[in-house]
């Protein structure tokens, strides 16, 4: 092994644990927290948009419109750098979590709404015909089927989110990508370090998508409705 290769190998090995540590300490928690709250928000927003309460519906539509129509990084900058000027200073991690949750909420609500709409009308009618109220029909019949339909697209959002958390570097969260930038600044080996961090992102998303497959199979065992119209 020549000197250059030895040096690269050394830096690679040296950096791996710090990068992984940043990933486990920040990237993964940021992803999980944001996805959890994002899903709650998505669910609420979808239900509000399908409800008959007009003012709430308008608010929900406005929210989705804003967060789908503007770049995530701009949203993060407004939350972290902008809000302090109106007296609201948030820690980088909290600002990032809020930004990502709002973004997941906006996209996720569209996924869930589409899934609910895709359940055949006959399912509503069957629920009503045995005397259910609208809420009972939603809770017992429609939502369980809609959730199954929305698992694949929501899993996609989840994978996207893992990668999008790298944007938190721009608002000073020392997540994995920020860490890679810091190490690069020390060794001047951008090719090596950015490829290395890419590999770790790849590992994270691969592991998490295998969990997704398992989740899909779990749902498959319990029914076969693919949301198709009868």
């Amino acid at each position: 092994m020549d000197d250059r290769s030895a040096r690269l190998y050394h830096i690679f090995v040296e950096s791996f644990l710090p990068l992984l540590k940043a990933g486990v300490e920040f990237t993964i928690p940021l992803t999980l927290v944001s996805f959890f709250f994002g899903l709650l928000l998505a669910f609420l927003t979808a239900l509000v948009r399908l409800s008959p309460v007009t003012p709430l519906k308008l608010i929900a539509r406005f929210y989705v419109w804003i967060f789908r129509g503007t770049p995530l990084i701009v949203q993060l900058f407004i939350i972290f750098f902008g809000l302090p000027s109106i007296g609201l200073t948030l820690s980088p991690f909290l600002a990032a979590s809020i930004g990502f949750s709002l973004s997941v909420g906006a996209y996720g609500s569209e996924i869930i709404r589409a899934a609910i709409i895709s359940i055949p009308q006959g399912q509503w009618e069957a629920a009503y015909s045995i005397g259910m109220t609208k809420n009972q029909a939603l809770r017992r019949i429609i939502i369980p089927q809609a959730l199954k339909v929305s698992v694949p697209p929501l899993s996609n959002s989840f994978i996207s989110l893992i990668k999008d958390t790298s944007l938190a570097a721009s608002i000073t969260v020392t997540e994995m990508f920020q860490k890679a930038q810091q190490i690069t600044a020390r060794y001047y080996e951008p090719m090596l370090l950015y490829c290395e961090v890419a590999v770790i992102y790849l590992i994270f998303s691969t592991v998490l998508s295998s969990l997704q497959n398992r989740l899909e199979r779990h749902f498959d065992l319990h029914s076969s409705n693919k949301g198709s119209r009868l």
């Binding site: 009618e125 069957a126 259910m132 319990h222």
Partner: protein
């Protein structure tokens, strides 16, 4: 059991039902026939308010409602009236994420708040009646069309409705599966279940119906016993409708 007075239904400005008067007596079977688009499905769906009539009055059991301008039906009344009937759909509409047993227990447990064990015992009893006791744990997709429809009937029966409504229950089935469903329906009729059946199965109609109603262009063209309708029809249009059924070209 069901009393319908001057019932009208319009979709936008398309008048589909144009003043229907009908009486369905307890323990009787009424079969509704008529050409495609005549409003049979709409009429049946009005009876449990899956469609909201635009005018007229409807009584099911002891619950009466009137419809018309400025008369917005209350959600509570809709539920009360709807809970007096059960419905069997052309495309079965079983809940695909629930087992056969869960499909049947859903109404009793969730709507009527019956105890789990009580509901399960009753569900198994109904499954036995439709000949599917061994399929209790199966999912709908694992059943044939005929089996699914029999589960559909058991699900509708499970909430102890005063009347069962059937909308072409056998027309999505392969011919060899029609018999098993009609057999179950015939049995229910013999046990005194009040039934309203939209169907093209004329043999079933003539054997089981107490009364046949011929609907045409949103109006009742003729009604009477199977003998009246099939052997002594009064209206020319009844004759031509029946002859088209026998010799469909």
């Amino acid at each position: 059991m069901i009393e319908i007075k001057q019932l009208e239904k319009a979709f936008g400005d398309h008048q589909v039902l144009k003043g229907i008067d009908l009486n369905i007596e307890k323990s009787k079977v009424m079969v509704i026939i008529g050409p495609s688009g005549s409003g049979k499905t709409t009429l049946l769906r009005c009876m449990n308010l899956l469609e909201m009539p635009t005018k007229g009055a409807l009584r099911v059991g002891d619950f009466q409602m009137t419809f018309g301008e400025g008369n917005v039906p209350k959600q509570k009344d809709i539920l009360s009236l709807r809970r007096k009937s059960g419905m069997v759909f052309q495309s079965y509409n079983l809940f695909p994420h629930k087992t056969v047993l869960q499909n049947i227990m859903e109404g009793p447990v969730i709507v009527q708040r019956k105890k789990q064990e009580e509901a399960e015992a009753r569900a198994l009893q109904l499954l036995d009646k439709v000949g599917l006791k061994e399929k209790a744990q199966a999912y709908p997709e694992q059943l044939s069309g005929g089996q699914q429809q029999r589960v559909g009937i058991a699900r509708a029966m499970a909430v102890n409705p005063e009347v069962l409504l059937f909308d072409e229950p056998t027309s999505a089935l392969d011919p060899e599966l029609v018999g098993e469903v009609l057999g179950v329906m015939k049995e229910l009729a013999l046990e005194g279940m009040t039934m309203v059946v939209v169907t093209h199965e004329m043999k079933f109609a003539s054997e089981v119906a107490d009364q046949i109603v011929l609907l045409d262009q949103g109006k009742i063209l003729e009604q009477g016993s199977p003998d009246d309708i099939f052997n002594h029809p009064k209206e020319e249009r009844t004759k031509s409708f029946l002859s088209r059924l026998i010799d469909p070209i």
